[in-house]
Every structure is written in structure tokens, then in C-alpha cells.
């Protein structure tokens, strides 16, 4: 049984979002920092049976500070959570985000993380699919430059049969930036008919940018479909020339191609902006 009351909130800045059975809610949380102080945020989210939540988190600020976000999400039967996170913290910030998600039967979680800020960010997710026919999608966009580092660690547990999970990452890395993606899918012995996909694509805009991708599949059921893939590449010179030959300046043409590279990630999140 998933809880319907919050676990005690431990930090200075916390929020408890509770969507009652059958209801639907839109919630916008913005954490904008200009005080150069460290922050610890605890978010507790419960979406009950047949309820829907659309959640937007935005992080931003100035100066040097650390943000620690701890997030617990419980999705009851048939609950739906659409989750957009804009991480646009100051370039000197360290941003850590630990997310734990429990999903009951036929619930659906889909998220898009837009990761642009912080000198160092870590997004660490543990997702537990414990009710049949539940589905989770983690999409992420990294736009990094200079010496920014961003790491995503996503571990999904398929504890029961007939669940789906998706992890799609697109990284655009300039200068000396480093992106890293570790996606883990763990299918329990009971997790028959699991469908899991994982893909990381990186566009390196500079020869000194690096992307690390490490997929990990741990599968104990025999009737599953799990696949993963990774690509790294540069901007396509032929496409760039084609655009420029039509009078489009080089930097505009590059931006068009970069936008094109990440555009698919916005499916289902049409209102989201970079």
C-alpha cells in the first residue's frame, strides 16, 4: 500500500502536494535564489487513484550555493503525473536532486528534465514499478558549456509484470563540459512482459566536450524486451552548408540544428521552453 499522508518534512523549504482521488491539479514550484545560501528542499507528492497532477519545477539563481532537493513521489492506481523540471541554476551552483518514485497499478509517470544550469548537477532517480501496467518515462536534455558537469543516474525496478519504462537523453555539450548518463533497468523474476527502452544521444560541439553513457541491464525474467543505445556525434556539416547556402548565418543555422536535435524530447511537453 502506498501512503496517503506525507512523511514528516525535514527541511527548511518543503512542499506537500496531495491530489485527492479523481481530482486534477496543476502546480508550479519556483525556487529562485539570490541569497547565495545553501538550500535543502523536500518535496512530497501523492497522487491518489484516478487523479492527475501536472507539476512544473523551476530552479534558478545567482551566486554560489548548493541546492539539495529530495523528492518522494507516490502514484496510486491509475494516477497520472506529468513532471517538468527546469534546472537553470547559477553557473556556480551545485545542484543535487534525489528522486524516489513508487507507482501502483496502471499509473503513469512522464518527466522532462531540462538541465542547463549549475557547475555540477546530479539527478539521481530510483523508480519502483510495483503495480502492473504502470509506465514511466524519463526524458532529459542537457545543454552544457564551459566546465559544467551534469550527471544523471536513473535506476528503474520492474518488480511486477507488464510495465514499461523509457529513458531518453539528449545532450548538447560545448567547450569542456561533461555529461554523464547511467541508466539502469532491473527486471525482477516476476517482471515478465517488461518493455524497457533506453537511449542516449549526444551532440559534441567542441572536441574537448565529453559524454559518458553507461547502460546497465539486470534481467531475471525471461520474457522481456529491453534495449538500449547510445550515439555521440557532431553537427552535420552537409546540413549546416545547406542552411547557410540559403542565407542563414552560421550561428543561426547551428542553433536550428541543435534545436532540431532536441526537439523530439518536447513531445508531450509542448509548452516547455529551453
Amino acid at each position: 500500500m502506498l501512503p496517503k499522508t506525507p512523511t514528516p518534512l525535514t527541511s527548511d523549504e518543503s512542499a506537500f502536494i496531495h491530489v485527492k482521488a479523481g481530482e486534477s491539479l496543476k502546480e508550479n514550484l519556483a525556487f529562485i535564489r539570490n541569497d547565495s545560501k545553501d538550500h535543502s528542499i523536500h518535496l512530497n507528492i501523492i497522487v491518489e487513484e484516478e487523479a492527475t497532477l501536472e507539476l512544473i519545477e523551476t530552479y534558478g539563481g545567482n551566486g554560489s550555493y548548493t541546492t539539495n532537493v529530495e523528492m518522494d513521489i507516490f502514484l496510486h492506481r491509475n494516477a497520472v503525473l506529468k513532471h517538468l523540471k527546469n534546472q537553470n541554476e547559477s553557473q556556480e551552483c551545485v545542484h543535487n536532486n534525489i528522486v524516489s518514485i513508487h507507482q501502483d497499478k496502471s499509473s503513469s509517470y512522464s518527466s522532462l528534465l531540462i538541465n542547463k544550469g549549475s557547475k555540477n548537477s546530479h539527478y539521481n532517480v530510483r523508480s519502483i514499478l510495483q503495480g502492473e501496467f504502470s509506465t514511466c518515462t524519463f526524458k532529459g536534455i542537457n545543454i552544457l558549456k564551459e566546465k559544467q558537469k551534469a550527471k544523471a543516474t536513473i535506476a528503474i525496478e520492474h518488480q511486477v509484470p507488464n510495465c514499461e519504462s523509457f529513458q531518453f537523453y539528449r545532450s548538447v555539450l560545448d567547450d569542456w563540459s561533461v555529461g554523464s548518463f547511467e541508466g539502469r533497468v532491473h527486471v525482477f523474476k516476476e517482471g515478465q512482459k517488461t518493455f524497457a527502452r533506453q537511449m542516449s544521444n549526444a551532440l559534441l560541439l567542441s572536441p574537448t566536450a565529453t559524454m559518458f553513457t553507461r547502460p546497465e541491464l539486470e534481467i531475471y525474467a525471461d520474457d522481456v524486451e529491453c534495449n538500449h543505445g547510445a550515439t555521440t556525434g557532431q553537427l552535420d556539416q552537409e546540413q549546416l552548408f545547406y542552411l547557410r547556402s540559403r542565407g542563414i548565418p552560421e550561428n543561426v543555422a547551428k542553433n536550428l540544428l541543435i534545436e532540431a536535435f532536441i526537439s523530439e524530447m518536447f513531445e508531450g511537453f509542448e509548452d516547455a521552453k529551453l
Binding site: 546540413q239 547557410r244 547556402s245 540559403r246 542565407g247 552560421e250 536550428l256 532540431a260
Partner: protein, 249 residues
């Protein structure tokens, strides 16, 4: 309009153009014909400023401006356009975004007012009708999922939108059915005016029936080996390139 003098070009370590001379006056349409691998596309890419084509000698001027000093986008700004032999697919960039960005980039660079969405849409509609481009094609990403013929028509659509003063069409007629060929010819003929010129690269007499060039050149091994009138194309159609190629051997 365009003056190419003694142009020599290397690709990789291989010399492809070997002292090419060509001059087009305003309002003229010239055709270039020549066997596969003779350097026709190389010439078109050098004109458009593609990387990897090393000009080792000679000059190219468009209306007195040295093209070789300019980036591809600057060449477009002064009025050059290349219809690609193999148009490039760009997944994720919508056709309308592409057309809008291209035309407004040119207008901006020329100090003209950019068109708003409404004016742009009207212009696209007008050209689209002329060239039989479907709404569906405009909703797709640039050239993605277009048939060979649709890609070629899309090149002509871009030309019609951007209204260049000097257009190079590299085998825009290849792979077209007869109706598409007529449409493409119409696209060219509509733009034709005393202050625009066209260089049409083709393998077939067929296109020339519809657009009647003023001059025909034969390119072989990186050089123009023969220049003449419409009769040259007919002669080629009948006898092939053999006699012209022997001339230079």
C-alpha cells in the same frame, strides 16, 4: 553578371577543375552538359562556397564582387542560389521554419524589413501553388520523406521564395516525371528576367525544350571543351560525348 576565369579546383588531392572559363551576362540562361564525373557538381559547390573544395587558381566574380572571399551565407545575400543535385534532409527543422528563417535572414542582411508571419505565409502559399507543393510537404521537416521529385521541386520552391539574381541548378530535372518537369521549368521561367541569370546543369535535352537556354557548354575533365547554341544539345543527344571528349584528349 558572373565571370569565372581560369578556375582550378582540388578535392582531396585530386584536381577536378582544370582552368575553367565561363561568363554569363544578365538575363542569360546557360546550360552545362557533360559526362558523369566531369566536374559539374564540383563547379556548383565551389560557386556556393562549400568546404573541402580548394581553389588553387583563377577567380569567380558575381557583379564585380569576388565570391571566393565570401562565406556561403554572404554569397546568398548578394543573390547566389544553388539548387542541389542531392538536396539535404534535415530532420527536426520544419519546412516553414526553414523558408521563413532563410528569407528573413537574407532580408535582414540586406537591410530590408523582415516579413511577419502573415506576409510570409501568403508568400509561401503563392509560390507553393505555382510549384504544386502540397500543404503536407510544408508541415514536414526539410526534405524528410520527400520523394526524389518532391525534393527537386522543393529546391525550385526555395529559389522562387528567395528570388536570387544568379541561380545554379544542378540536375534539377533528373528524376522528374514529365509533369514535374513542366512545373520546374515554369518555376524557372517565371523568375526569368533581364536582371537574373541561370546556369542549368543537365544531362537531358528534354529540359532545354522548356527553358530554351541562350548558350550551351560542354564540360569534360574539368574544362569547357565546347560552347554553342541549342543545336549542340541536339547533336549530343544523337552522338554522345565521344567527339567532344576526343577533342581534348
Amino acid at each position: 553578371m558572373i565571370k569565372i576565369k581560369n578556375l582550378t579546383v582540388e578535392v582531396g588531392d585530386k584536381q577536378i577543375l582544370n582552368g575553367l572559363n565561363l561568363e554569363l551576362k544578365s538575363g542569360e540562361v546557360h546550360a552545362i552538359m557533360g559526362p558523369n564525373g566531369s566536374g559539374k557538381s564540383t563547379l556548383s559547390y565551389v560557386l556556393a562556397g562549400r568546404e573541402g573544395y580548394k581553389v588553387t587558381g583563377g577567380s569567380i566574380e558575381l557583379d564585380g564582387i569576388n565570391l571566393l572571399d565570401l562565406s556561403p551565407e554572404e554569397r546568398a545575400v548578394i543573390g547566389l542560389f544553388l539548387a542541389f543535385q542531392y538536396p539535404i534532409e534535415i530532420p527536426g527543422v520544419q519546412m516553414t521554419t526553414f523558408l521563413k528563417t532563410a528569407l528573413n535572414s537574407l532580408r535582414k542582411a540586406r537591410g530590408e524589413k523582415e516579413l511577419d508571419s502573415l506576409a510570409m505565409l501568403k508568400l509561401i502559399k503563392e509560390k507553393q501553388k505555382l510549384l504544386g507543393i502540397t500543404d503536407d510537404m510544408l508541415k514536414r521537416p526539410v526534405n524528410v520523406g520527400f520523394s526524389g521529385g518532391e525534393k527537386k521541386r522543393n529546391e525550385v520552391l526555395q529559389m522562387a521564395m528567395l528570388e536570387p539574381i544568379f541561380s545554379v541548378l544542378d540536375e534539377t530535372d533528373s528524376g522528374l516525371d514529365i509533369d514535374a518537369l513542366k512545373i520546374v521549368a515554369k518555376g524557372i521561367n517565371t523568375l526569368r528576367s533581364p536582371d537574373r541569370s541561370f546556369l542549368v546543369i543537365t544531362h537531358y535535352q528534354r529540359l532545354l525544350d522548356y527553358i530554351q537556354p541562350d548558350v550551351i557548354h560542354i564540360l569534360s575533365k574539368g574544362r569547357i571543351v565546347k560552347t554553342g547554341g541549342a543545336e549542340l544539345a541536339l547533336e549530343l543527344e544523337k552522338n554522345g560525348y565521344a567527339e567532344f571528349i576526343e577533342n581534348v584528349a
